[in-house]
């Protein structure tokens, strides 16, 4: 074959020309490649969720090749000896087969499960970042709503996913879901009958939740993710306050090559961590639980962590049943289960509007707030986290009781009292801590940094030398405005100390060929 004329450059130009002739790409491609993104580690938390979602699609597709969503009865004859000859559903049998008979099936199952836990955890942490920095404020309320919706779709996606194997543990979870569903006023028993195709457990629920798990919910998530990321792109990312950063600009680096390379590297990193975890740490060993039987359960039955707070609330709620004799009954599980979950969906959705009612602030905000500068919101956030954590701990209170040799009933009462008292207490403490931090920032701006150098004047008085951050007036005060950006608190931060020695075996000099400017100086806005 004859070698083509021209080098790679002209080939690229030719290919680009052909593409542009058809799709008119020159301008959008340039705009996309030049788009400026702000840089901060906390802006990458949502990406963890995105990357684990992609991994979930990949591993889930593999699992779907072998999983049989059927409750038809069968007798196990696979290679796992303890269950040989045991009657079970095809769903459970095929899950065992994925674990034992499919080459590499076990690691795919474990990757799928670990990626789910990472997916849910990263969404929670990402939401906290958005909340505490005020990134949900105008003009980004829509993306906050989409985010909350995605979390709850993912919640049910995850719950349905771990219900699919039809093992002893997941069947118990479905039983609790049945109890919750049947408690809903007016429609409960009918809703439950629709879900289970008649009395619990029936023989259709697995195939029904399967289509939700592999088609409907992933489709909704995919659509919402597209809009979510598209809006971040169109509205431009928020940024932290700092030198040269205003409400009207974005300071950072270009999409190509910097941002994209960091994203690709980060994605592979997340996948690598999940793959290693899936190989080394066991998760959801369904073969130990046996098939689901309505009469069998053991202690230490915990759902996945993101469902645990709900289970904890159900455990803590007092035994209050309302009877409208002789016809109707409002079960105790209705309050934590249905009302509790409903409020967990509704209150976060409404939060931006609620906050706006109090602050009367209708302006657009593209600079983030430090949590300390908004003590009330930070307090509310910590309050919710404490409430949630007590729910999670209570969801495993039997495990805690056994491990630490505490009375189970004491754990329950501790949770009941704690879930009322501790959130209020933590709101107050957080509020005070925020005010303290604010005050310290102002103090440093007015009097300078503590140097740690103690002096004694001729009267014998000891005092500490302060390093003012600007030229002080005759009283040693500096009139610096707080700008919302971090205030240096240590002398190292203003370049008082040279960088520590580098090198492992022997000291190496700072490489002189980067012009002597260190990255920190560049970031601080010095040229």
């Amino acid at each position: 074959m004859k070698r083509r004329n021209g080098n790679a450059d002209s080939l690229m130009t030719k290919a680009g020309g052909e593409l542009d002739d058809r799709f008119k790409l020159a301008r959008p491609a340039r705009v996309l490649m030049n788009k400026v993104f702000p840089d901060h580690w906390s802006f990458l938390l949502g990406e963890i969720a995105l990357f684990s979602f992609i991994l979930l699609l990949l591993t889930g597709t593999f699992l779907a090749l072998f999983f049989e969503p059927s409750m038809a009865h069968t007798t196990y004859e696979g290679s796992y000896v303890p269950l040989q000859g045991v009657g079970m559903s095809k769903a459970y049998e095929s899950t065992l087969d994925i674990s034992f008979e499919v080459r590499g099936g076990l690691i795919m199952r474990q990757m799928h499960h670990w990626a789910t836990l990472l997916f849910m955890a990263s969404m929670l942490v990402h939401m906290m970042r958005i909340f505490f920095t005020g990134a949900f404020r105008a003009p980004r309320e829509t993306n906050w709503l989409i985010g909350i919706l995605m979390f709850w779709v993912a919640f049910f996606e995850g719950f349905f996913g771990y219900s699919l194997p039809d093992d002893g543990l997941s069947g118990t979870g479905l039983r609790i879901m049945e109890g919750m569903t049947a408690s809903i006023p007016f429609i409960g028993p009918w809703a439950s009958a629709a879900l289970f195709g008649g009395p619990f457990p029936g023989d259709s629920v697995i195939s029904m939740i399967y289509i939700f798990h592999v088609f409907l919910f992933p489709l909704i998530l995919l659509a919402l993710i597209t809009v979510h990321v598209g809006l971040v792109f169109a509205q431009k990312h928020t940024q932290w306050p700092g030198p040269g950063r205003t409400e009207h600009n974005v300071v950072g680096f270009r999409m190509f090559p910097n941002y994209v390379m960091k994203q690709v590297g980060f994605m592979l990193f997340i996948w690598g961590v999940v793959a290693a975890m899936a190989g080394l740490f066991q998760i959801n060993p369904v073969w130990l639980f046996g098939p689901y039987e309505a009469s069998v359960v053991s202690s230490g039955s915990q759902p996945d962590f993101y469902v645990m707070y709900l289970d904890g609330l159900i455990r803590l709620f007092p035994a209050w049943e309302f009877r409208m004799a002789p016809y109707f009954t409002l079960a105790p599980v209705f309050w934590p289960g249905i009302v509790g979950m409903g409020l967990s969906v509704l209150l976060p959705l409404l939060y931006p509007a609620i906050e706006r009612r109090f602050t009367k602030d209708r302006g657009h905000h593209n600079l983030l707030q430090r949590p300390r500068d908004v003590p009330a919101r930070t307090g509310v956030g910590v309050m919710v986290i404490v409430f949630w954590l007590i729910g999670v701990v209570s969801g495993g209170n039997d495990v805690f009781a056994e491990t630490f040799d505490i009375s189970l009933n004491a754990m329950t009462w501790g949770g009941r009292i704690g879930i009322v008292v501790l959130p209020i207490l933590s709101y107050y403490l957080t509020y005070r801590i925020c005010l303290g931090l604010q005050q310290h920032d102002r103090e440093v701006l007015a009097h300078g940094l503590e140097t740690g150098i103690l002096m004694r004047d001729p009267d014998g008085r000891f005092y500490e030398v302060h390093q003012p951050l600007a030229e002080p007036d005759e009283h040693g005060h500096t009139e610096l405005e707080y700008s919302g950006a971090p205030v240096p608190k240590k002398m190292n931060r203003v370049g008082a100390l040279p960088p520590t020695d580098k090198g492992f075996f022997k000291s190496i000099e700072e490489p002189s060929d980067n012009g002597g400017t260190s990255r920190d100086e560049i970031e601080a806005g010095h040229k």
């Binding site: 690691i107 474990q110 910097n258 690598g272 689901y292 009933n409």
Partner: protein, 372 residues
């Protein structure tokens, strides 16, 4: 509005000028996107220094390492013995199959990731750029044009002039919407009395003969099969009686010690006294927790409590299994039992007197339960 110093901003260049360098053309693109370079310098100003070469070698090594581990992954996936033969010992190579896959794949991905990240952080130019955000809505001009476009459309359709058509369209669309969801009605099932009647009901499930108590394997339960202080799970002795088909039927048969049985007989609710629900020192309670339906299966013989491991409801065995702790509100229904004179095994004299399992919205509150 521009936030930064416009005097630093380069002027528009004439693109037809043949003397322009590539960078000048590139910067014109940035200018058109309202981007200004604050800082931009190569990471290594002198190309080809030792430090740069060293960084290139590190990144290259990371990529090659990733390739090596990916190859190891594929080799292990194909040739490492993997088939589970029913035994699991750390000496068997198949025990290591999943860890080896995880470690090789994980390391391959991690090394590639660190390679890409090192490339980005150590070799790309040091840059800081600032772009105008253009926050807020469109210009008043654009808004005005859009408004009149919409108005023209509305006018063309005559939406304001033809209110009848609008109403008719809405009236037509509403049933269409209903028609779209109506097929889901196939899911609706009447729960009927399935939450109240269990497989212990003789008329419905056993041609009127009292339903026997059987174990999971189908063996009928005789009094001598449960030692004093012991308990077993029993199922209705009908076809599939022990299967999930009858998820509300599992029952706990307890052989109480004499003094405990005595206490229970004293405490017995009148509805259970009337039907003589106990047989000797034997008592049978529904195993399905009255909270949300997990099996309340942990029997603590010393404190005479039954505990549900799902939400820790606790029931007092010697007081009609009334709830004494946790979120459950009602006692575990007692199954009235006796022993068949001829055959010598347990039978249920009737179904549970109150519906077993968790409360549901249309669960009737029976007058008998007020005695609790």
């Amino acid at each position: 509005m521009s936030a930064h110093n416009d005097e630093n901003r380069p002027d528009e260049v004439d693109l037809s000028d043949p003397k322009l360098t590539r960078f000048e053309v590139y910067r014109e693109g940035l200018r058109r996107d309202d981007i200004e370079i604050i800082h931009y310098e190569p990471r290594f100003p002198k190309p080809g220094t030792g430090a740069e070469k060293r960084m290139e070698r590190i990144v290259g090594g990371l990529f090659l390492g990733a390739g090596l581990f990916a190859t190891l992954f594929v080799v292990a996936y194909i040739w490492w013995p993997w088939e589970y033969d029913g035994t699991a010992s750390w000496r068997d190579p198949q025990t290591w199959y999943t860890p080896i896959l995880g470690v090789t794949l994980g390391l391959s991905l991690l090394l590639f990731a660190v390679g890409v990240l090192t490339w980005a952080k150590k070799l790309l130019p040091v840059e800081e750029l600032v772009q105008d955000r253009h926050d807020g809505g469109s210009s008043t001009e654009d808004r005005r044009i859009a408004e009149s476009t919409v108005d023209t459309t509305v006018e063309d359709m005559g939406l304001k002039r033809r209110p009848f058509l609008v109403k008719a369209a809405l009236l037509g669309a509403a049933p269409l919407g209903l028609a779209a969801v109506a097929p889901l009605g196939g899911l609706i099932k009447d729960p009927g009395d399935s939450l109240m009647v269990t497989a212990w009901n003789a008329e419905r499930y056993n041609d009127g003969d009292p339903v026997g108590l059987m174990m999971k394997d189908g063996a009928l339960v005789r009094p001598d099969m449960v030692s004093v202080g012991g308990q077993i799970t029993v199922f209705p002795a009908i076809e599939h009686g022990a299967s999930n088909e009858f998820a509300n039927a599992p029952t706990l048969l307890i052989h109480l010690r004499e003094q405990d049985a005595e206490k229970l007989r004293e405490n017995l609710y009148p509805m259970y006294q009337e039907v003589d629900a106990m047989w000797g020192n034997f008592v049978a309670y529904s195993k399905i927790c009255t909270h949300v339906g997990c099996p309340a299966s942990l029997y603590e013989q010393q404190s005479q409590r039954l505990l549900c491991p799902c939400h820790q409801s606790q029931f007092n065995v010697i007081d009609n299994a009334a709830p004494i702790f946790g979120p459950a509100t009602r006692h575990l229904p007692m199954l009235p039992i006796t022993v068949d004179e001829q055959e010598g095994h347990f039978v249920a004299t009737s179904d549970f007197l109150v519906p077993p399992g968790p409360a549901f919205w249309n669960r009737p509150s029976l007058p008998e339960e007020d005695e609790e």
